[in-house]
């Protein structure tokens, strides 16, 4: 630690300061802002790197390894050849063609007139919509209820905004035998109610849920809504997987329940909707008086989102608006396509002694690994949670990448959920086949 050089004369200062800390930087004061303390670790960075290093069959990170539908790729090509304006700035809060069709499309679903200019903000992926929401609405001292297991970014985002995360877990229902479906994981109404306090600013729900795949039923959402209304709390509803439900399960938008539109921010994703996660187009939708604060954050952070991708997504939604509910709709075809993959993976996991939780919706399936007795003799992971150690072993020894589920739990509850790993099944059949081969080979060799 060097004292700040306060000598006069530039060359002398330079000599003193430059001589030290060449590799640590020659500044003696603390550089980073407090808001980023404790949020520098990230599981994706660690596990994506590992999967790449070991060239593992990747059922880890959640993205399709097949192409987006032809009509959306075509729309993108058309957009980028559509004149100079498609390569220059568009409207900051959302490309007019896109916000108009989103308003039209979702008005029909939510059952109310959504204003494209006031009630919608387009963002760089749903991720940035979440960021704008927390930055706009969460002040120091505000409490945010997070239902676990949760998409990992909610916790650091709440922290960066100075808020306090209060966790409430989904738990396997008592007395229903071996839990087989995500529908069996539920909230305890009493426990949930106990988490609300005068400091509660918001609650975050994710339906369909990542990693569990739970799709909240009407009654469950009513219970949450009642509490939001009673305690005057904002609901942040992450619905990026809204089109991916199986076995006839219906996705319900909490914003469509009585008393909820005026206090709900609903988050959506073109990446998940159109299997183009690399386009990073998302949105937040809600009442103008709340959205305007998200817009303020947006205009002071990224300001604009890329134009051509927004134009392409607009064309995609127009097409889906026209064929909605019919067989030709991508929103029908994709879940149908994934339905089989989901069942196939579940069967394979069962056959090798893993206990999958069959998801009602979404991209992912978790499986209980406690039946396997693997000798994880890797000293480098000695102090890590069991599921982290198992996942790393599976990557290194078997070449199969998954994600440890305790990463989606709070520090307080991580220990109780160390025996699940998460698989992404939104993959080509060849990828799933390769994963199956690895698992069967391993099972056969035991």
């Amino acid at each position: 630690h060097v004292e700040r050089a306060t000598v006069d004369g530039p060359s002398l200062s330079f000599g003193l300061v430059n001589a030290s800390f060449r590799d640590k930087g020659n500044m003696s004061r603390k550089l980073h802002a407090r808001r980023i303390e404790g949020i520098d670790k990230n599981i994706w960075v660690e596990f994506s790197q590992l999967a790449a290093d070991y060239k593992a069959v990747n059922l880890g990170q959640g993205f399709p390894d097949f192409s987006p539908p032809h009509f959306i790729q075509e729309a993108f090509c058309k957009a980028l050849n559509g004149g100079f304006s498609k390569h220059q700035y568009t409207r900051a809060f959302g490309h007019p063609n896109l916000v108009k069709i989103l308003a039209k499309f979702f008005s029909r679903i939510v059952g109310r007139e959504i204003d494209p200019m006031e009630d919608i903000l387009v963002s760089v992926g749903a991720y940035q919509a979440l960021f704008c929401t927390f930055q706009a609405l969460i002040d120091e001292g505000d409490e945010v209820i997070i239902v676990e297991p949760f998409f990992d970014c909610y916790q650091p985002m709440v922290m960066m905004a100075g808020g306090t995360a209060i966790y409430v877990p989904l738990k396997p229902r008592e007395g229903c035998g071996p839990v087989l479906s995500s529908a069996d994981w539920v909230l305890s109404p009493e426990e949930l109610a106990s988490k609300f306090s005068p400091r509660t600013k918001a609650i975050v729900i994710n339906t369909p849920n990542n990693p569990l795949g739970k799709v909240y039923q009407q009654e469950e959402l009513h219970m949450i809504a009642d509490l939001c209304i009673k305690h005057d709390v904002i609901c942040i509803s992450d619905e990026v997987y809204e089109w991916l439900t199986y076995d006839g399960t219906k996705h319900v938008k909490i914003a469509s329940l009585p008393g909820m539109w005026e206090r709900t921010v609903t988050i959506g994703s073109a990446g998940k909707t159109f299997s183009a996660t690399g386009w990073k187009v998302g949105w937040a939708m809600g009442p103008g008086h709340i959205l305007k604060h998200l817009k303020t954050v947006h205009q002071n952070s990224v300001y604009h989102c890329a134009t051509a991708a927004q134009e392409a997504v607009a064309v995609g939604f127009q097409r889906e608006y026209d064929v909605f509910g019919t067989e030709g709709s991508y929103f029908q075809q994709l879940p149908k396509h994934l339905h089989e993959k989901r069942l196939r993976l579940a069967d394979c996991l069962k056959s090798v002694g893993l206990k999958p939780v069959l998801p009602q919706g979404g991209y992912f399936m978790i499986a209980d690994i406690s039946n396997l007795n693997v000798d994880l003799a890797d000293p480098s992971t000695k102090d890590e949670p069991y599921d982290y150690r198992f996942v790393k072993w599976l990557i290194k020894e078997k070449g199969l990448a998954t994600i440890p589920v305790s990463a989606f739990f709070s520090p307080e509850h991580k220990d109780e959920f160390q025996k699940y790993i998460r698989f992404c099944f939104v993959k080509e059949d060849s990828t799933l086949q390769a994963a199956e081969d690895i698992l069967r080979q391993w099972s056969d060799s035991k």
């Binding site: 299997s275 990073k280 604060h293």
Partner: protein
């Protein structure tokens, strides 16, 4: 009725107003010649567009890429800038890809500025600097560029606008966390000379402050001038974040890709902000920019390198615009770089008293000019703090990265100015 709990957070208090909201709706009216907002109406180079079309055809490139920057792009950036900086740049630790230069500024402020910090900003400044510093809890400390009294009235250059050295030194104190510089500067077009940058560097080192150098217009440098990177001055690499922009480099502002380059111990904090705010930037766009950079890297220093050819093309437009404005009676400040020009409208003696008292003169002039002359520009006081309004309220900003037909239309308006 909106609940009191639905109020905005403290960090964005007062940051909802924005000069662009008022003036960009103007762009929608096709009868108005728009020299206001800074974006090209000339097409981007064809190989860049083609690169995007090709990238979009590759399955993997439509899905998530590396959060801190797509490998093709960060490697290309480390190549190009490695040459410019004459230093080995680690593509993974010393570079962060962001949503435009704007996103780099945001990541930098959120990572490195907090309550109690002062940040020096030079006026006129790209308008987002002040609200971003405020959102991070910092206190903006402003210092204006001043017109040298020695400059001839008829021929003013952006080089005639300088900082008063004593005044600059007086702005630094123990609370100063950083100084933001923008070179080439928006709106004036000034390119800070090596000695001017050295003076700033000396103060940064003396007071142990950071330097945030917004160099998005770095390739748009006109004959006789040189863009110098403050990060290359002795003692500065370790304390400087340098910001660049694909949008400005390749005339694709709508791609919203930019980058921060700096030492690992600073960039890692920006990466933390990135991973907790939007995580990753669009993949196909990054691939296309990476390919474009690799192509131009091979041509660097040659006239058909886009970095050079664009500047050559714009120099002609710059000179043409300056001549048009002079002819009307305005006094343009000829920029050394960038694609904006400010002009002094004092000599026109336009009486705007009928427009009331509550706005600076330039805001009124710009609105009057849109209405009466169908020509759009931006008031320069949008880029300064309250205390400097009087100094800048006779200036308007015009953007000249426009195709010849747009400039023809502007010329027609300016030529017939006094005929009404």
């Amino acid at each position: 009725m909106a609940s009191i709990k639905h109020k905005n957070t403290k960090r964005i208090e007062g940051l909802d107003k924005n000069v662009w909201v008022a003036f960009t709706s103007v762009a929608a009216d096709p009868s108005i010649v728009n020299l206001g907002q800074g974006y090209p109406d000339i097409p981007p180079p064809s190989y860049v567009k083609e690169g995007l079309a090709q990238a979009a055809m590759v399955d993997r490139l439509n899905q998530y890429t590396r959060g801190f920057g797509h490998p093709t792009l960060v490697k290309a950036l480390s190549k190009v800038y490695g040459k410019v900086y004459d230093r080995q740049l680690d593509p993974f630790k010393e570079i962060l890809v962001t949503v435009g230069g704007y996103g780099s500024l945001f990541s930098t402020m959120q990572a490195l500025v907090e309550e109690g910090d002062e940040v020096i900003i030079i006026e006129p400044f790209f308008d987002c600097y002040v609200p971003m510093v405020k959102m991070a809890g910092g206190k903006p400390v402003l210092i204006p560029l001043r017109l040298k009294s020695s400059s001839a009235a008829s021929s003013v250059s952006s080089a005639d606008w300088v900082l008063d050295q004593e005044e600059l030194a007086s702005k630094f104190n123990s609370k100063t966390k950083a100084i933001i510089i923008n070179t080439p500067n928006n709106p004036i077009g000034k390119i800070f000379s090596r000695s001017e940058l050295q003076a700033i560097a000396d103060l940064c080192i003396k007071h142990d402050t950071l330097c945030i150098s917004d160099e998005v217009y770095e390739w748009l440098v006109y004959k006789g001038h040189e863009h110098v990177k403050i990060a290359t001055l002795p003692g500065m690499w370790d304390r400087t974040i340098t910001i660049g922009s694909a949008g400005k480099t390749f005339s694709v502002t709508g791609w919203k890709l930019g980058w921060s380059i700096g030492p690992e111990h600073l960039i890692k904090h920006l990466q933390t902000v990135m991973q907790n705010s939007l995580y990753t930037c669009p993949t196909p766009l990054q691939e296309a920019v990476g390919q474009g950079l690799l192509r131009d890297f091979e041509l660097m220093g040659k006239p058909d390198c886009y970095f050079t050819s664009l500047a050559l093309e714009l120099e002609g437009k710059r000179d043409r615009m300056a001549a048009m404005l002079r002819q009307t009676g305005m006094t343009p400040v000829v920029p050394e770089g960038g694609y904006f020009m400010i002009a002094d409208v004092t000599a026109l003696n336009q009486d705007l008293s009928h427009m009331g008292d509550d706005e600076p003169y330039d805001y009124k002039f710009v609105k009057w000019m849109i209405k009466e002359k169908k020509l759009a520009s931006i008031p320069v006081t949008a880029f300064v703090g309250e205390d400097s309004v009087k100094q800048f309220e006779k200036y308007i900003r015009l953007c000249f990265i426009k195709q010849e037909s747009t400039l023809d239309a502007a010329e027609a308006i300016l030529k017939s100015w006094n005929k009404d």
